[in-house]
């Protein structure tokens, strides 16, 4: 099996680091990629479920641009819709009818949605959701989950990290996932100040097993929060439209007051949406929140095509089946080498961990060896399936995984 090398990627990184802080920053930065030499940093070609790095190495992509790619790169319907709108008008001085059509589509697809507001990135709409909740309640505090991620605005970041100050976290109270007692305690202590509760539909932190909602957790939490006069916000930026086209809350059987979407909404075009119930419409109207590129119409057209295609192709069901096939296959391959692969989260977005080593080093080595053989795996973050992945991709991935297990077994033993 061919082992990839990354000379061109590294040359680009050398250039990048001279003119860009970190060279490659944020979630693409090299920090969580261990061993770093197993990973490429630059690519300028992608198609369907694959990308090619600047060295020409081909990867079956299980990160899907960290979520936005859901139908496959260069999906013909999405690309055609974008190009048609882009050639007519993208940036403009007034709003596009496509924005209205997309809002109507979301109100049709998503049961909670009685209105929709658009921006570009997930944090744009998680911030907006909190502003709307504060406007609606006249309260300050937000309850969030320990290890939950809602973007990189100062209040969302881990306390103490660079560029944040103590006041950023003054009104954010973090509680453990699935812990109704902790919620009770916070409401008892701060209830009159709690504007909102924000959480992802299931708990998908990095470097840890993902955790589904306990039976009855969401409804019980909603009941408590509504009794307290607080707003319930689901951050569905990562999982939205992969588990259910009506929002991941429909998959789990509950209804929040607002849902933040982004990532998969437009198959890679920059777009996010906040949807909510009618009760919050006026408050959403009063909050001033905007950005220079938030009205660009090409992304609206791409989103309409993306969501329509996902619905027609029963996308979430296909991704679930593919994810189950991939993860059960990988578990079997691991077991064949004497390893135990733990799969958590949802099949369309699985997080995998080798239980044989709680330091994560074995897992990092295995993911690195798979990546150097053409299956782009990260060890710290949940993966993503798309409708473009094929049974053939999964078969090839299992062969790569098998080869990688042989390598780490010779290196680490068992």
């Amino acid at each position: 099996m061919n082992i990839y090398r990354y000379e061109e990627s590294n040359k680009w990184f050398d250039r990048a680091v001279k003119v860009i802080p970190c060279g490659v920053y944020g979630h693409f930065s090299p920090a969580p990629y261990a061993p770093v030499e197993a990973y490429p940093f630059f690519s300028n070609k992608a198609d369907a479920a694959r990308f090619w790095d600047v060295d020409g190495n081909e990867f079956i992509d299980y990160m899907c641009a960290y979520g936005p790619m859901v139908l496959g790169y260069n999906h013909p319907a999405v690309e055609a819709a974008f190009q048609e709108q882009h050639s007519l008008s993208d940036a403009n001085s007034v709003a596009s009818p496509r924005m209205v059509e997309l809002a109507e589509l979301l109100c049709d697809l998503v049961p909670v949605a009685e209105w929709a507001f658009f921006a570009r990135n997930g944090a744009d709409v998680t911030n907006l959701a909190v502003m709307v909740a504060r406007a609606a309640t006249g309260r300050d505090k937000v309850i969030a989950i320990k290890g939950g991620y809602h973007g990189t605005s100062p209040w969302m970041q881990a306390p103490g990290h660079h560029g944040t100050i103590a006041d950023d976290h003054q009104h954010v109270i973090r509680i453990p996932w699935n812990d109704l007692n902790a919620l009770d305690q916070v409401l008892a202590e701060h209830g009159s100040q709690v504007a909102a509760f924000m959480a992802s539909p299931y708990h998908h932190p990095i470097f840890e097993d993902n955790v589904l909602p306990a039976e009855g957790y969401w409804q019980a939490a909603i009941d408590k929060l509504h009794k307290n006069g607080s707003v319930v916000i689901v951050d569905d930026v990562r999982a939205g439209f992969r588990l259910h086209l009506g929002g991941s809350n429909e998959h789990y059987g509950f209804k929040p007051d607002m849902i933040a979407f982004s990532k998969a909404i437009a198959n890679g075009y920059a777009l996010s949406a906040l949807v909510g119930t009618d009760a919050l419409r006026l408050d959403a109207a009063k909050v001033f929140h905007t950005g220079s590129f938030w009205y660009c119409a090409g992304s609206f057209a791409a989103a309409i095509a993306c969501l329509t295609t996902l619905k027609a192709e029963k996308g979430p069901e296909r991704m679930r089946v593919l994810g189950e096939k991939l993860t059960s296959g990988l578990r079997d391959v691991a077991a064949g080498h004497g390893y135990t692969l733990v799969v958590s989260g949802e099949p369309a977005m699985p997080y995998l961990r080798l239980a044989d080593d709680d330091t994560l080093m074995l897992q990092q080595a295995w993911c690195g060896e798979c990546t150097r053989r053409g299956a782009f795996f990260t060890s710290h973050h949940n993966w993503f399936l798309s409708t473009a992945h094929t049974d053939g991709d999964i078969e090839k991935t299992l062969q790569i995984a098998d080869d990688a297990f042989k390598v780490i077994k010779s290196e680490f033993g068992h």
Binding site: C22, A34, V36, P159, G160, F207, L360, M361, Q364
Partner: protein
């Protein structure tokens, strides 16, 4: 609070190096080879350390009830900090007959420590000198962590996010090495050397890379991408530790 933390860092991270220095510096080893003395430094209503010189070695104890041959008392954290900046003298409580030793012999050792920690700009460092400098800097850094977690405002916000685990810091090919054991309750213990089973590894390709990071002149993300700094295992431990280490210059110049 700032004075208190600074004093604890001076005692438990900087002066602690008196234990390590004779192990890595021939001149310091020669200096202490015949010393049979223990020196206690204590701050009123706060912390204390004991430097025990015996059989050509120094051992360090913190927050001990052991008495020293010589006992030096500081009225406050600020008092100790002023002494570290040569602007004050301690109050001797016992060992009056050994005060001469402190002013002559012991001050030679502390001067040697200062020479490595703050090398004069006109001194050209050879490889050995650089390695001692790096070893002391690494030691100071890891022993600062438990104190910062207790008293530094930023580190205190990091503390609840630190899971239990051991972080090994290594400079290839032959050290220095140090490690930090986080207890998962916001506390930590630091050690020099190699941990038995670390859960996270922060490894520098060579001493030059490590020194650049210590000097604050290295783009650490760029170094990670180039493999000059290697991260393995529980990377959040490394991430959080880096934020804590970044606080040291607020207190120690």
């Amino acid at each position: 609070m700032i004075d208190q933390l600074k004093a604890r860092l001076n005692l438990k991270a900087v002066l602690r190096n008196v234990e390590l220095l004779p192990e890595i510096d021939d001149l310091s080893r020669e200096l202490i080879k015949d010393w049979e003395i223990s020196i206690r430094l204590s701050i009123w209503r706060d912390t204390n350390i004991l430097l025990n010189f015996h059989n050509g070695r120094c051992t360090f104890l913190a927050d001990t009830i052991e008495k020293g041959t010589v006992s030096l008392f500081f009225c406050s954290a600020a008092h100790l900090n002023n002494m570290m900046e040569n602007n004050a003298s301690p109050l001797p409580l016992s060992g009056f007959t050994r005060l001469g030793f402190l002013k002559t012999e012991f001050s030679k050792l502390t001067s040697r420590l200062e020479y490595f920690l703050k090398p004069p700009s006109d001194v050209v460092q050879d490889d050995r000198h650089k390695m001692i400098n790096l070893s002391l800097a690494l030691s100071t850094a890891v022993f600062a962590i438990p104190e910062l977690l207790q008293l530094d405002p930023v580190s205190r916000r990091i503390a609840p996010q630190l899971s239990a685990g051991t972080l090994q810091l290594s400079v290839l090919p032959e050290g220095p090495y140090a490690y930090v054991i986080y207890d998962g309750k916001g506390g930590a213990k630091a050690f020099t050397g190699k941990a038995a089973r670390p859960e996270a590894l922060l490894t520098f390709r060579n001493p030059e890379i490590a020194q650049l990071l210590v000097d604050g002149t290295l783009d650490s993300f760029g170094a990670v991408a180039k493999g000059d700094i290697q991260l393995r295992g529980k990377i959040p431990l490394i991430d959080h530790t880096n934020v804590i280490l970044d606080q040291i210059p607020k207190y120690l110049q």
